[in-house]
């Protein structure tokens, strides 16, 4: 009996109002995740406490790590009279009880709808002495009825530079790297590549060391990792900014450019060979450092494996659901592997994504179906019409995988039923190797399972 037994193959209802099985979630969870990438930061959700509970639970289930965040705990009164009193109390309580370096406030659909003015409330908190000396409150607007969790991430990173970045008038020789919505393992890999390059980078946000912290016998509410407030402040003095992911990072990078004359290069998250090459080139250009042999070595390994296994990738059809920056990077990589990204949906609204996907897939010798904003119900209907060889998406895709008997590679947010995503990167050359390993494992395990005794092979 099918788990998704009510999903028909034929598309008979033109849905304009009902989203079924969304391929996105709301802004504040992205803002909360970005805020955790600042060292000593307490994220704060300005709204009713359910939002905060849901976002903490979602992030905790994904990372299996503590996710501490405070809430304004609105009740009916605050919804009618405004949330100023709640936020002022909250700021004072957070600093006295938890002693963070910075409180990062994001709004919710509730506080946005009643029109709470963050600038004014936070200014009031400062002027009333509720923010201790040397401590900070930053904020951003994250109405849940605009964009998606990716937009929320972008808005919080924008909040970091708007509230903290400064310019001393002199360049500090460093390069800002702003990673998009990706795993702590990916952030660590992006940093490792910069280190191999010998480039002096400031990366923010940086959830590595925070969302993959060790078990030590002591609970650190603020683990050692994360970008420091000082680092983010100095981003205005950098020689340039590399922004990895249009959707999640372009806005803060452009802000630094416009405000402090820090030139920026906005590119894709470094999935696969071509986009990692582009990241390395940008690092080299901005830092003035030549590319070392160790990077040539890593890159060459990826090309080598691809040449060894090309026949198993070639022409295989894949269905993908996820976030724009991730989808773009993955689609590009699948095309590099000669695979066919047959069906793609993303819940994050905006028409730029379709253009990007069409450009990437223009030479793919097969039809590529795309919908944005689209949902997993539609993706499943397409799969029922003509199956694919592989699914790539978050844990919610496992229901489609089970019903249609198609292997699934878990990628994106949230992954709640497996680990690895926060420990092993999928970006950079190392990440490309890992993705290739996962894809081959899935395809060849299926082949082994389905092969007759006469066809069963030992060597691939």
């Amino acid at each position: 009996m099918a788990m998704l037994r009510h999903t028909p193959a034929e598309i008979t209802v033109d849905r304009t109002a009902l989203t079924i099985n969304p391929a996105k979630t709301c802004q504040p969870v992205g803002a909360m995740y970005a805020a955790l990438g600042i060292h000593g930061c307490m994220p704060h959700s300005h709204g009713s406490q359910g939002c905060c509970a849901y976002h903490r639970s979602a992030l905790t289930r994904h990372y299996k790590e503590p996710v501490t965040a405070a809430t304004s705990s609105f009740t009916e009164g605050s919804s009618v009279f405004g949330g100023q009193a709640n936020l002022l109390t909250a700021i004072q309580n957070i600093f006295s009880v938890y002693e963070p370096e910075v409180v990062a406030v994001h709004t919710t659909c509730l506080s946005e709808t009643i029109g709470d003015d963050m600038t004014q409330i936070v200014e009031k908190a400062r002027s009333e002495g509720k923010v201790p000396a040397g401590k900070h409150v930053i904020y951003c607007n994250t109405p849940s009825y605009v964009g998606s969790h990716v937009t929320g991430y972008s808005n919080m990173v924008q909040g970091m530079v708007k509230n903290l970045a400064k310019s001393s008038g002199a360049k500090n020789g460093k390069v800002n790297v702003i990673p998009g919505f990706c795993e702590p393992s990916d952030m660590a890999e992006i940093k490792r590549l910069a280190k191999l390059m010998g480039a002096d980078v400031t990366m923010f946000p940086d959830t590595s060391g925070v969302m993959d912290a060790p078990l030590t016998g002591k609970y650190e509410m603020f683990p050692k990792g994360g970008a420091t407030v000082e680092e983010i402040m100095s981003s205005g003095d950098a020689v340039g900014t590399i922004a990895l992911g249009q959707w999640a990072t372009a806005a803060p990078a452009k802000y630094l450019d416009a405000e402090f004359k820090v030139p920026c290069e906005i590119m894709g998250l470094p999935f696969g060979i071509e986009d990692t090459d582009a990241y390395i080139m940008a690092l080299s250009k901005m830092s003035g450092k030549p590319v070392p042999a160790s990077i040539d070595f890593e890159r060459g390994q990826v090309v080598d494996v691809l040449s060894d296994y090309s026949q198993y990738f070639y022409g295989k059809r894949v269905a993908l659901a996820g976030d724009p920056d991730q989808i773009i990077g993955l689609t590009k990589f699948l095309v590099e592997l000669d695979m066919v990204p047959a069906y793609i949906v993303s819940g994050t609204p905006g028409n730029k994504l379709e253009k990007a996907i069409r450009e990437i897939t223009k030479d793919v010798p097969a039809e590529v179906k795309f919908k944005c904003p689209g949902d997993m119900f539609l993706l499943h209907q397409w799969i029922k019409q003509e199956p694919v060889d592989l699914l790539i998406g978050n844990s919610y895709m496992k229901y489609i995988a089970r019903d249609e008997d198609i292997p699934l590679i878990r990628h994106g947010f949230p992954i709640v039923d497996r680990f690895g995503h926060s420990m092993f990167p999928t970006v950079g050359y190392k990440g490309a190797l890992r993705l290739m390993e996962k894809i081959l494992d899935a395809l060849l395990t299926r082949r082994d399972r389905d092969a007759s005794e006469t066809e069963f092979e030992l060597v691939y």
Binding site: M3, R5, H6, P8, V13, T16, A17, L18, T19, I20, P22, K24, T25, C26, P28, S48, Q49, G50, C51, C52, A53, Y54, H55, S57, A58, T60, R61, K64, E65, P66, T68, A70, T71, S72, S73, T75, E76, G77, S78, S79, N86, N93, I94, S96, V97, Y98, C109, E112, T113, P143, S144, Y145, L215, G217, K218, Y219, M221, G347, P373, Y399
Partner: protein, 549 residues
């Protein structure tokens, strides 16, 4: 096996000192409020002191609580498999309540509907917030109907829906008339109450007014028909309870709301007895079922082998049929050896260990039975969203002050149904039984069952949890997903009692055995002994001296 558990051990630390320490860091106003929510048990049995509860969470204090929508859609309606549940609002709420509460269901019957793996949302955009979302909601209902032709559609309001004034009830009425299926809405905006509890109440009220009593043909029927109220089938608990009851010859007409179907609710008025598991989430439904249909109710607890035996005997005693009473004894005698065999192996490995429980509205009470069976002591317990009666017992209900937040939640005025009211017991019979010590409509609360010197804390927060663990170093801590990993970073295993850490069932006899095994593993696994590396500073000092040869 029905004997009360008497070997409770009082903790060695002075709880007054702990309380002082918990409060020390708070600003004065916060400290004053929290001090009324922290209660130290002084004597055995019930106590005549008030536990401040069901009051607002302090802004900025990292709380374990969720919201009204979570209680309504996530907890109560989530487990029903054949209702299309549409969240009206931006995408987040619908997304987060999608498959995160382990609502196991058995939809294996041919043609059975099962919408649990689907998330339906109107995914409101800014133009819907500005111009109103009612039209989009109507279209969404029509689209859901065209696609699935379900028996019923429920609509859940999220925060912004309440603010912009979308009338989900009017939309529901209009679409019900148009489509001819039952469509009903819930005003369960997240900000409506101080915790999930408000959402449970809103959900149950609506099921009571819109669904219960609309069908006279239950899916199952037998000689002894009961409803199981406040059981949500996490990890398959309801399946195990039903297995045992079936074996005894007792028929479960409806479980509210684990593994439930629309028709189970619709014909729930046909049962002869309501059995209440989670008192907090559903006590008012039990009362309303009695007033409207004449169904008496008793409190039961199927968490723990002793508790299960006791509850079975209580149900059998209510029906009073010697044949049933004998059958129940036979089932207990048959099931207990399995439990005793498991305990004989495991209890020596768990005896003397300590636990803390901070979950839900009844679980922090019920699970102490299982720990007691394992020879473990509960040092502290409390609830996320309880009201005073859950701590102090139902006798305090008339004295609970109605504040502004409680006033938001509709109290239904219920009268006897002119057609369907049929008292299962005469008033004299009920009075006579009560005089003989039978307990109907009774729940004594958590406080009487706690040992002297234990701590009872309402709405525990992150800071206090850290302090409690630091000071008491319990062998196991029970809470939810948000608390799990901060506790485990301290080297203390955390048992999730909302999701069971994806184990279970823990109810009934087989469930008790599962729990014993899981707790044994959690408190005895080698992982906690590996927290400190051999070269760590507080380990034995490593010295080496190489002498050149």
């Amino acid at each position: 096996m029905d004997a009360p558990i008497t070997d409770k051990v009082a903790p060695a630390i002075d709880p007054e000192e702990v309380k002082k320490e918990l409060l020390a860091k708070y600003p004065p106003k916060v400290g004053r409020k929290r001090s009324q929510q922290i209660f130290i048990k002084e004597n055995e049995g019930p106590e005549d002191r008030e536990v401040l509860s069901n009051v607002r969470t302090v802004p900025g204090i990292v709380t374990m609580r969720g919201c009204t929508y979570a209680g309504c859609k996530g907890v109560i309606l989530g487990p029903t498999r054949d209702i299309v549940n549409i969240t009206h609002g931006p995408i987040g709420c619908g997304f987060y309540s999608w498959l995160t509460r382990r609502n196991q269901t058995d939809a294996s019957a041919p043609g059975a509907e099962n919408y649990i793996p689907y998330a339906f949302s109107t995914d409101m955009q800014d133009e819907d917030i500005i111009f109103g979302g009612e039209k989009k909601l109507k279209r969404a209902i029509q689209e859901a109907y065209d696609l699935f032709k379900p028996k019923a559609i429920a609509i859940f309001s999220t925060c912004p829906v309440g603010l912009i004034g979308d009338d989900v009830h009017a939309v529901a009425r209009e679409m019900k008339a148009l489509l001819g299926i039952n469509i009903f809405g819930f005003s369960c905006e997240g900000y409506k109450g101080v915790s999930q509890s408000a959402g449970h109440h809103i959900a149950n009220n609506k099921i009571f007014t819109e669904v219960i009593g609309t069908s006279d043909t239950p899916n199952r029927t037998g000689k002894y028909n009961i409803n199981m109220l406040g059981e949500y089938n996490i990890g398959g608990d309801a399946f195990e309870i039903e297995r045992i009851l079936d074996k005894c010859g007792i028929t479960v007409n409806a479980t509210f709301s684990g593994n439930s179907t629309y028709n189970d609710f619709a014909s729930a008025q046909m049962a002869d007895l309501s059995c209440v598991m989670c008192h907090r989430s559903i006590n008012y439904v039990a009362d309303m079922m009695e007033t409207k249909y004449g169904i008496p109710w008793i409190k039961v607890n199927f968490i723990g082998a002793h508790a299960t035996a006791k509850s079975l005997r209580r149900i059998a005693a209510h029906f009073g049929d010697p044949e049933l009473i004998a059958k129940v004894e036979e089932v207990i005698a048959e099931e207990m050896p399995l439990v005793e065999e498991a305990l004989a192996k495991i209890k020596p490995r768990t005896t003397g260990k300590t636990a803390m429980l901070f979950v839900g509205g009844s679980r922090a009470h019920h699970y102490q039975e299982l720990f007691a069976e394992l020879g473990m002591t509960t040092l502290a317990a409390g609830y996320e969203f309880a009201h005073r009666d859950d701590y102090e017992g139902r006798h305090v209900i008339p004295t609970i002050k109605i504040d502004a937040d409680s006033r938001n939640i509709e109290e239904l005025h219920v009268e006897a149904d002119p057609e369907r009211y049929s008292p299962r017991m005469s008033e004299e019979d009920m009075k006579a039984r009560e005089a003989a010590g039978w307990k109907y409509k009774e729940y004594e609360g958590l406080v009487p069952d706690m040992a002297p010197k234990t701590m009872i804390i309402d709405d525990l927060n992150q800071y206090e949890a850290d302090k409690l663990i630091e000071m008491y170093k319990p062998d196991i801590f029970c809470a939810g997903i948000k608390e799990k990993y901060s506790v485990q970073k301290m080297g203390v295993p955390l048992k999730q009692l909302h999701s069971y850490d994806y184990g279970g069932p823990y109810a009934g006899f087989r469930g008790a055995v599962n729990y014993y095994k899981d707790i044994d593993r959690m408190v005895n696994t080698k992982v906690w002994s590996k927290v400190k590396a051999p070269w760590a500073a507080d380990g034995p000092e490593l010295t080496a001296c190489y002498v050149a040869g």
